[in-house]
């Protein structure tokens, strides 16, 4: 089928495959985090529990069903995302080079509210760092989750994570960082609503 793109229209800010994967990832992450809170509540590591009303699954078995269903979406979508980015060259083009001086400069500008968002095609250095960070963070979540899920079957991974109990702490800290990213991410979208349109319809 031909696309209805008129010649004067510029190409999409985000290609369709990226937008699709972004929203699939959003669904997977939300389901994983909310069901994960319920699982955490069954045996809290720290001295607090998540209010049951903001968790998913109703009870431990329900939360585990959600968690171990959404993990497939998170993992398969994540691997495809990385593969598409690498093979299309988008990864190198969008995220690199990334220089510390630019990060400091853009971070300073962002905190003073002076960071320009004129061209959504271009990520500033803080964005590059944040998106690369969240990729690594989700990878750590998947790997520490594998150790909790299958500590006997992945001995090398288990030792890298410091053993079964430490893997739970790693999983929790990585979840907390992901939630922190999510809050900042959504706040930035609220500040620059055009970015939401770009991620929905491509322009």
């Amino acid at each position: 089928m031909m696309t209805k793109q008129t010649p004067q229209k510029t190409p999409a800010i985000h290609p369709a495959w990226l937008r699709t994967m972004h929203w699939l990832n959003a669904v997977a992450v939300i389901v994983m985090v909310l069901s994960g809170w319920r699982i955490y509540d069954a045996s809290p590591i720290f001295g607090f529990s998540f209010p049951p009303g903001i968790t998913l699954g109703g009870w431990l078995a329900g939360a585990l069903l959600w968690h171990f269903a959404a993990m497939w979406l998170l993992a398969i979508n994540g691997v495809l995302y990385l593969a598409f980015n690498l093979f299309t060259g988008r990864f190198a083009r969008k995220f690199f080079p990334l220089r510390p001086a630019e990060i400091l400069r853009d971070l300073g500008a962002a905190l003073r509210g002076r960071l320009a968002h004129a061209d959504l095609r271009h990520y500033n250095a803080v964005q590059k760092l944040a998106y690369l960070f969240v990729m690594v963070d989700i990878a750590v979540l998947v790997l520490s989750g594998l150790v909790i899920f299958k500590s006997v079957q992945f001995p090398l991974l288990r030792e890298l994570m410091g053993g079964y109990d430490t893997a739970r702490v790693v999983h929790f800290v990585a979840m907390s960082l992901l939630v922190a990213f999510f809050i900042v991410h959504v706040a930035m979208v609220a500040l620059v609503p055009r970015t939401l349109l770009a991620m929905l319809r491509g322009r």
Binding site: A61, F68, F149, S151, V152, P155
Partner: protein, 260 residues
């Protein structure tokens, strides 16, 4: 896991079975809440106006994925890979008591009259006394018990390698399932590769003492490659079968394979 029941199966059920099944159903608050609460996210179901019940499409889909996860775990399971073992200094003391009932309801099985019953695809169905089981070759290991809730504890179990016992009774080792019925009305079942794993023990001792009642006297199945709820205590009967036997927690939605 819940399987559809054919109508001829229902016909062949005795009235007593049905009453017993209903009693168990009503006696389990978790079962009643399972379907209804599966989808709740605060007041979200009210906001969207969705009716959520046990027969919902979401629950069916989630249970299908859980079946897929059973197969994925069976594929991932390496029958030769050993769970880590620990020095005695790392044993969790006291080792936690855990069951679906309180410690005051632990069943008291009389060891002198105890006989382990065998059924299904087994050549020699002769029941076993504790003395006969204790006369079999024994081994001991210190491994980590991982609960589905997330906590873990290290303990020391001693007993008969389960694979050795299965061979001794002439079990069909190509059968799919080994099922357990327990004195506390608990029941569960495992896959044959896990049953034959070198660390799977028919545990008769905890530490250097006879298995105490709270840990499953007269015997439990101890598998460091499975989560806690897959390790039945107070075992009264073992059946080797190709018919899916389910389990107490598994029938309520917990994953059947439950491996670690």
């Amino acid at each position: 896991m819940p399987r559809p029941i054919a109508s001829n199966e229902i016909d062949s059920r005795t009235a007593q079975d049905i009453v017993e099944a209903a009693r168990q159903e009503l006696g389990s608050p978790a079962r009643r809440l399972f379907g209804r609460r599966l989808l709740t996210l605060g007041g979200l179901s009210m906001l969207t106006g969705c009716t959520v019940n046990g027969e919902g499409d979401a629950e069916k889909l989630l249970m299908q994925v859980s079946r897929l996860n059973d197969r994925a775990q069976a594929w991932l399971f390496d029958p030769t890979r050993l769970a880590p073992t620990y020095p005695a200094s790392m044993i969790t003391r006291p080792f936690p008591f855990n069951a679906y009932y309180g410690i005051d309801q632990v069943p008291r099985v009389a060891g002198s009259t105890y006989k382990l019953e065998l059924g299904g695809l087994v050549a020699d169905k002769r029941p076993w006394t504790l003395a006969e089981l204790n006369a079999l070759p024994q081994t001991s290991q210190i491994t980590r018990h991982i609960c589905v809730e997330g906590w873990s504890a290290i303990g020391q179990w001693g007993g008969v390698p389960f694979g050795l016992f299965l061979k001794r009774i002439g079990a069909d080792l190509s059968a799919r399932y080994v099922a357990f019925k327990c004195a506390d009305d608990y029941y569960t079942s495992i896959d044959m590769p896990t049953a034959l794993h070198p660390q799977t023990l028919l545990a008769l001792r905890y530490g250097d003492q006879t298995l105490p009642a709270k840990y499953g006297y007269p015997m439990k199945l101890r598998m460091p490659t499975k989560l806690g709820y897959k390790n039945p205590k107070h075992i009264m009967a073992i059946t080797v079968t190709n018919t899916y036997p389910g389990g107490y927690w598994e029938d309520q939605g917990y994953n059947w394979f439950g491996g670690s």
